[in-house]
């Protein structure tokens, strides 16, 4: 049984269905990406998994246990961390305060300190500016902080929504290599990306979401080689 299972998820905003049947599995220790065009329902899917939105039907199982009826803060306690689209840092708080909020569900002060140091070692620039307000940072630095903040809850599943959005190619490379590093440390990653090429290249598995439904799935390399994927999603993405 997979670690995170999403079954026939349907989510609606009022009368409009944004997600009309999304299903996928995430195995422990893997990187799984959801790709698809703008408005396909990827972000809605992540927001539903983390409890910000309620599904109309379908289920989300974490380690076999249904979590789709839990409030958002309980889902975090179950070990799902979500770094939202657009990073959504607390811009008027310092780096350290942002990281401490990431660890909000924990009370082991020693462990929190240790994890904070770990984040600083992953992203040394954060360590140098730990008392600076997050709002003053560049896009790439903000993304590092967003990932670091999500890691602070010691998640069993890390969900990253568009981590490369608005970043320079070099910074994008840096973020993707960090994601790989996280996998090597044993973290499970669910990645949502428009930058399908880079995402699939490092993913163990990928799912294509189109108009609110999962339409294709396969290993990262299979999808990269698939003509339909190439036509629909890689054409314009190859260059970037």
């Amino acid at each position: 049984m997979s670690f995170l299972q999403v079954r026939d998820l349907v989510v609606a905003y009022g009368a409009i269905q944004a997600v009309r049947g999304v299903s996928f599995d995430v195995e422990k220790g893997q990187i799984v990406s959801l790709i698809g065009s703008n408005g396909a329902g990827k972000t809605t899917t992540l927001r539903t998994i983390s409890g910000l939105l309620r599904s109309v039907s379908g289920e989300v199982l974490l380690d076999g246990e249904p979590i789709h009826r839990l409030p958002a803060h309980k889902i975090v306690m179950k070990g799902v961390a979500h770094s939202p689209e657009g990073r959504k840092l607390f811009s008027r708080m310092t780096v350290e305060e942002n990281l401490r909020l990431g660890a909000y569900t924990r009370s082991d002060e020693a462990g929190i300190r240790e994890d904070m140091d770990h984040v600083y070692s992953l992203f040394p620039v954060l360590g140098e500016r730990r008392t600076n307000k997050a709002g003053l940072f560049s896009g790439g630095e903000q993304q590092m902080l967003a990932i670091g903040r999500a890691l602070m809850s010691r998640p069993s599943v890390l969900m990253l929504d568009e981590p490369s959005m608005g970043l320079s190619p070099i910074m994008t490379q840096k973020i993707f290599s960090t994601i790989k590093e996280l996998r090597s440390e044993g973290t499970t990653v669910l990645l949502v990306e428009q930058n399908a090429l880079s995402a699939l290249a490092l993913s163990d598995r990928g799912y294509v979401i189109d108009l609110g439904r999962t339409t294709l799935s396969g290993t990262g390399h299979e999808l990269l080689a698939d003509s339909r994927v190439q036509e629909a999603y890689l054409g314009e993405g190859v260059g970037t």
Partner: protein
């Protein structure tokens, strides 16, 4: 001359620090759910009546006679009554409207304000008129000598200034330095993302209402002790002043609320002394200041302009 001026400054500081204390509740609630909680003034009033009830019906005579026993008990009692009322109103009036268009909670707040005032008027014995409030503190004044006369400072006034500033400092430290305080700030900046951090936003909102209400309750007791009476209109009037103070200081900003309160107090005291019309028009000046601030600097003294909501 100087003595008159300084006495008005003292009066302004006394009223101002009380207004500032109430304003903290407005500013915190607005910061966290963008609601002008009109009923907050009533929470202040209810605290005073709660304390009065406790003193009149619950405390044995020997405690009533010793202010150093009675005052702390009343402060705690008043704060408790205010807190309970605020938590109930959050739960039953405001929470069901979370996510509703903005006019709805504002009108609900008006309704809660009217209802609370009327509940006290109808059901507190004798509340249709002003009620005498026990003076549970040292009476008398400290005559501070200055060139050309003396400046009187009531001991109860000094109590208001000192206790208000201390409580405001404690609150600021709590919000800036603790885990729950951090959660409050997080919810006020972006409540969805705060949820993603594992923050139970409902709990944080209740806590915010409760903290603001406890301060207002303490304020209600001190107000009664200083004036020697309470009436049911005290909430509306001081509530509006406190809201003005919160806006003046930059809504959502704790330090700003206190500074704004003191400015309001000074405007009222000095305006009543030196502006045409005298004390009959001192309220008018406060509202003029309010309008001027909202029109020309809606972010207040300390607010960051990004915080200003449409």
């Amino acid at each position: 001359m100087l003595a008159t001026f300084l006495s008005q400054i003292v009066n302004g500081l006394i009223l101002g620090s009380l207004i500032g204390l109430i304003a903290l509740g407005y500013t915190m609630v607005y910061g966290i759910i963008q609601l002008i909680n009109f009923a907050h003034g009533e929470v202040f009033m209810v605290g005073a009546y709660g304390g009065l009830f406790m003193f009149t019906y619950l405390l044995p005579t020997f405690i009533q006679r010793q202010w150093y026993l009675a005052l702390p008990l009343l402060l705690v009692g008043g704060a408790a009554v205010s807190t309970v009322v605020a938590v109930l109103m959050e739960r039953f009036a405001y929470r069901p409207l979370r996510g509703a268009p903005r006019l709805a909670p504002l009108i609900t707040a008006l309704g809660v304000s009217v209802a609370l005032q009327e509940l006290v008027r109808n059901f507190y014995p004798g509340a249709t008129a002003a009620l005498p409030f026990p003076r549970v503190f040292v009476q008398g004044t400290w005559e501070i000598p200055v060139p050309g006369g003396t400046v009187p400072l009531r001991w109860t006034g000094l109590l208001i200034i000192v206790l208000s500033l201390v409580l405001a400092a404690v609150l600021t430290a709590y919000v800036n330095g603790t885990r729950m305080g951090r959660a409050m700030r997080a919810v006020s900046q972006d409540s969805d993302t705060a949820r993603l951090m594992g923050v139970d936003t409902d709990r944080v909102i209740v806590l915010t209402f409760a903290l603001g209400a406890a301060l207002a309750g303490v304020g209600g007791i001190m107000y009664g002790t200083d004036l020697g009476f309470v009436n049911i209109d005290m909430g509306f009037q001081n509530g509006i002043f406190a809201f003005t103070a919160a806006v003046l200081g930059g809504i959502g900003n704790l330090r700003g609320a206190v500074v704004g309160g003191i400015v309001i107090g000074l405007v009222k005291a000095l305006g009543g002394q030196y502006l045409p019309g005298g004390t009959a028009y001192d309220y008018v000046w406060i509202f003029v200041v309010l309008i001027a601030v909202l029109v020309f600097r809606p972010q207040g003294f300390f607010g960051e302009s990004e915080r200003v909501r449409a």
